[in-house]
Symmetry: C2
Subunit: 197 residues, 2 copies
């Protein structure tokens, strides 16, 4: 019962967020949508921010699940590329969730931290696999992962605010920028192969 109400509250908050942005997420509407009173949330969360943190954690956990589910098949590098594109797609489909998830948190929610670490960990494993196959250059895999992640994140955020393409010519989409970075690594790989011969 209690678990159920908690889940309903989180789902309601996410739905309100998608429909009307952060301002639309009021505890009164969340309660109404979950079929409880406007301050029932206080029996499950310390305050509003903790409820929002639960929404963010849900997003990050789903993300981690997607990352882990992506088996490093033939080409780990291609898997990484698809995952990064998926990250951008998620941000563009649910901009409010994206903004919330990476917003400023007063609470140092352990739940939030571990969820983020889980998805980054899965990503690092794929980068390591790509390095092992020679598809990406050697070096600290954690740092290389951060490079891809930071670009995907920044490109998505700037695109969301219209700060990326000047006239919307569409020649600098987040996906394009990601592929540019991947191409840059391919160029280096070729060089190494040539000098090695």
């Amino acid at each position: 019962m209690s678990r159920d109400t908690r889940t309903l509250l989180v789902a309601a908050a996410a739905e309100l967020l998608d429909k009307g942005g952060p301002a639309a997420v009021t505890l009164r509407d969340v309660g109404r949508m979950a079929g409880v009173s406007h301050n029932a949330p206080y029996k499950h969360f310390a305050d509003k921010e903790e409820l929002l943190a639960a929404v963010a954690s849900r997003e990050l956990l789903r993300q981690a699940k997607t990352m882990k589910a992506a088996r490093a098949q033939k080409s780990p590098r291609e898997v990484l590329r698809v995952l990064m594109h998926g990250y951008v797609r998620w941000a563009r489909t649910y901009p409010a969730r994206f903004k919330l998830t990476f917003g400023a948190w007063k609470t140092d929610s352990a739940e939030l931290g571990t969820a983020a670490d889980a998805s980054r960990g899965a990503l690092i494993a794929i980068v390591e696999a790509a390095q092992a196959k020679g598809e990406l250059p050697k070096g600290d895999p954690e740092r290389l992962t951060s490079l891809f992640l930071a670009l995907a994140h920044g490109a998505a955020d700037l695109a969301l605010n219209g700060h990326l393409a000047a006239k919307g010519k569409g020649h600098a989409d987040p996906e394009d920028l990601l592929d540019d970075l991947f191409a840059r690594f391919a160029a280096t790989k070729k060089r190494k192969a040539r000098t090695g011969r």
Copy 2:
């Protein structure tokens, strides 16, 4: 007089933002700090969001000024690198302003858009200069600029939320990631120089 009040209101909002985050920016405190009543802002801005948009515009205009002031001296590539590091530094020094500036705006403020375009335009000019000197590879300068900007932006944002370095070992700072990208372009340049010989 009116200009003065307007400027005072914007400055007060920025100060409150720095001190206590977005929640601390109430029209009542803004007015109090500017020495006017709590609804005097409505004589200068349509609503609270427009006041916040003015704060964001001020930040972007200052940014544009910095970008333009950076003369492309000996090495435009180095100038670009310093500017990108400065961008990250700005984000880390004034995280609340950074978050606000690139937050979700309902208003399609023309002021905001042109301010952002101005700083990006100055950056593009530097990238073009670097390309002309052979310090960066050829290609759409707007797109190449976006690549650097997106990485700087994403790295700064992730760092602000603690999503970058796992254990704070400091080996994946935004500055490091930016330099990694710059190094990647250097590697390619070398290759071109060698094959060209």
